[in-house]
Amino acid sequence: MTHRIFAAAVATLVASAASAAPYRPSDDATILVTVPHAAASMQTAFRKSQIALAAKPTDLTLALEVARAAIRDGRASADPRRYGQAQAALAPWWSMPDAPMNVRVLRAIIRQSLHDFAGAEADLDAILDIDPRNGQARLTRAFVRQTVGALADAKDDCRRLPPSVGAIASAVCWLRVQALTGSAGEALERLDQVIKIDGKADPLLRRWAQAIGADMAAMLGQTEAADLHFSEAIDGGDIPTLVAFADHLLDTDRPAKVLTLLDGRSEADIVYLRLAIAGKRLNDARTPHWIALLADRFAAAKAGGVQLHLREEARFELEVRCDAAAALGLALANWKIQKEPNDARLLLQAVLAANDPAAAADVLSFIEKTGLADARIRPLQDKIAEKHL
């Protein structure tokens, strides 16, 4: 049955082109795709390496170069295609159980981007077994473990980070776990000190630390402090940080700012979702366009069997389409994979919207077990507790 529904979904989607309106532009100058000017030279260099690699696909040095460049851009622009390109570059080594160490680091990163957290951890475990002082691998594993809610293990990795990763990264790793386990206030205070002391740190690192700090402030319900942290964090213009700021703006009821912040900034799925949510709240005329576009993309992902968008799709159903039952299903499926405060919160929101308090049992026990205290989640917990009375 599931299979049949799925097949029908593919068929509907593939055939839906029939109802669209293909056209031949009348003007040769019509632009179909744009690569930003700043990125164009990078793009050219990347393309050159890619072409060279195509001629010699088993050249490991070249393959690593292409994969790294693709991942780097995938990160900054939240572009899932880039991870597929990185994976393709590593194809000759991808299925090797004992792939070279530097391939395994990249494979772990690509796997986590595909939400294969177990696969990512297995690669990192293998690297750390051989080289326990590999800071990159240990830091990556610490964050994978934070994502899946294995906070004690994450803490262990943060504690054992070698000095080579630097003071800020060490502190962020450790303090974030602290914040996730109920001590956000203390963690934020210490994080601010570390940022202040290490004034000469790489600006990218500083921005990252500020973004993490912003989240801690939001966790504590300190809107202004969060704003302040975000103001430095978003300087680099990387999309995930901008999106996190947009979420904070939505949480604090400033949807108009979200439109100014994000409109025209990127074509990423995560960006369109925030535009749709903000647009809906403001009755913006572009909202139906954003909604249709997202629905198209989610449908394609579903037909292609891709499960990367559960979190986004759950929010889409909950906040844009107001389909509580669909949102709850997706939020539950997402909770099986990721266990960050965002995921917990989304699930509790869906539980309340669908009026199905029983579905909250697992997430509530997780919150209790980890001690997570988040001002954005607390009211949801209270509402569910009321229902149980």
């Binding site: 049955m1 049949r4 097949a7 029908a8 979904a9 593919v10 068929a11 509907t12 593939v14 055939a15 082109a17 029939a18 669209a20 309106a21 293909p22 056209y23 532009p25 632009i31 179909l32 795709v33 744009t34 690569v35 000017h37 164009a40 990078m42 072409i51 780097r72 851009d73 990160r75 939240a78 572009d79 899932p80 295609r81 597929g84 390109q85 393709a88 194809a91 986590q112 990159q136 990556t140 964050f143 990264a169 962020v172 790489d202 990252w208 973004a211 989240d215 680099g236 213009g237 995930p240 940080t241 999106v243 979420d247 990423a268 198209d296 993309r297 394609a300 292609g304 069997g305 965002n342």
Partner: protein, 382 residues
């Protein structure tokens, strides 16, 4: 905090060198290609759709290197590109696949992204019912690319997803699978009347008064089983007819109504039917109410069908099967309920207690649903 941010920094940790701070790169979603074709005995026609961005990655379309791909840059290489991409797909036997001849390419937008459309036609040896499809686009450059394939003949359609691991698939267009599809749509129709409490409650409410007749100010039991069956048949048939009409109209995209309105009217219908049992306005003509509200219930079913997705090649068959399923579900309810109601229809406990009290409860539920659906609040599970 987005996990993405948590990881962003690791890029900097792991890779030295210039950081790519892109402020605007087009089209950030996964890469998909769409291949759709219709086959006849020895002829195939269809189209392949690929994102312009993916084409650029594979065939470097940006001739002047200014960071933009224009229609002119694509158009000038039209025939070369068409032949390149069509060589990467095949339809028909491995040894002698159909010879695909490209048509004029066009542009279309999908998910906010420009796609190039490559139409094609082809002549082949007699194809039979087992259609072999090959798809080997983009995989070398993007291991997460997916090819969504749909092949159909005049009555059967089959779909599959191509991946780097699966670049060839054999699709079985044998029409006996049609029975499976019919069966699956019948069962989902029956399933949805069964779990759609509002439809069920509406029907039950109408049935409650089908075994009695209003005479003066009193409920009088219907004399014969035949009479009760006749009254019930009229109600159920009218309901069926009405919701079949609107279900079809909605599923085929002829009429569309906002779901909040539909759901609210359905809730109203439950309450109204219950009120009619308490203060009868229509007794003998309950079928008219069944028809009128049935029209709205049909729109309610349609939303389920939309979620399931109608296979385009078998739209009407699927629609009909789903309707049949809904009917079977309804008949099961009637068959279970009617004999019981008929047996107890004479007792005072039924006409003076069960009927009014039950209707009162149903009315309250109906109004609560209405309130909930009209305002978006959660009061009772529905």
């Amino acid at each position: 905090m987005s996990r993405l941010i948590a990881f962003t920094i690791l890029a900097a940790m792991i890779f030295s060198g210039t950081l790519f701070s892109a402020t605007r790169v087009e089209a950030h979603s996964q890469s998909y290609g769409f291949l759709r074709a219709t086959v006849h005995d020895n002829h195939v026609s269809g189209q392949l759709e690929l994102a312009v961005r993916d084409l650029d990655l594979a065939y470097s379309l940006d001739a002047d290197g200014d960071g933009s791909v224009t229609w002119g840059e694509l158009r000038k290489r039209e025939s070369e590109l068409a032949s390149l991409v069509l060589h990467k797909i095949s339809i028909g036997p491995a040894k002698e696949p159909c010879d695909l001849v490209p048509g004029a390419i066009a542009i279309d937008s999908r998910g906010g992204e420009n796609y190039a459309i490559f139409p094609f036609t082809g002549a082949c040896e007699a194809l039979g019912k087992q259609i072999r499809v090959g798809y080997d686009l983009m995989f070398v450059l993007d291991a997460q690319h997916r090819g969504l394939v749909d092949i159909s003949n005049h009555d059967v359609g089959r779909s599959t997803v191509m991946t780097p691991e699966t670049r060839v698939a054999v699709l079985d267009l044998e029409s006996d699978n049609r029975l499976d599809a019919i069966r699956s749509f019948i069962s989902s129709g029956a399933h949805h009347i069964w779990i759609g409490y509002d439809h069920m409650l509406f029907l039950i409410t109408l049935l409650l008064s089908a075994v009695v007749m209003r005479s003066g100010n009193m409920w009088q039991p219907v004399e014969t089983l035949g009479g009760a069956v006749w009254a019930t048949t009229r109600i159920v048939t009218a309901f069926t007819l009405a919701h079949s009409i609107t279900l079809s109209a909605a599923a085929l995209g002829i009429v569309e109504l906002p779901s909040r309105l539909v759901e609210s009217v359905i809730a109203t219908s439950v309450a109204v039917a219950a009120i009619n049992n308490l203060f009868p306005v229509v007794s003998r003509r309950a079928w008219i109410a069944a028809f009128a509200f049935g029209l709205m219930h049909g729109f309610g079913f349609a939303s389920i069908l939309t979620d399931l997705g109608l296979p385009p090649a078998r739209k009407l068959v699927a629609l009909f099967s789903f309707n049949v399923g809904v009917e079977l579900g309804q008949l099961a309810v009637v068959a279970g309920l009617l004999p019981v109601l008929f047996l107890i229809r004479r007792s005072a406990a039924y006409t003076q207690v069960a009927l009014p009290a039950g209707s009162l409860v149903i009315m309250v539920i109906g109004f609560m649903w209405l309130l909930q659906r009209a305002t978006g609040m959660n009061i009772v599970p529905s």
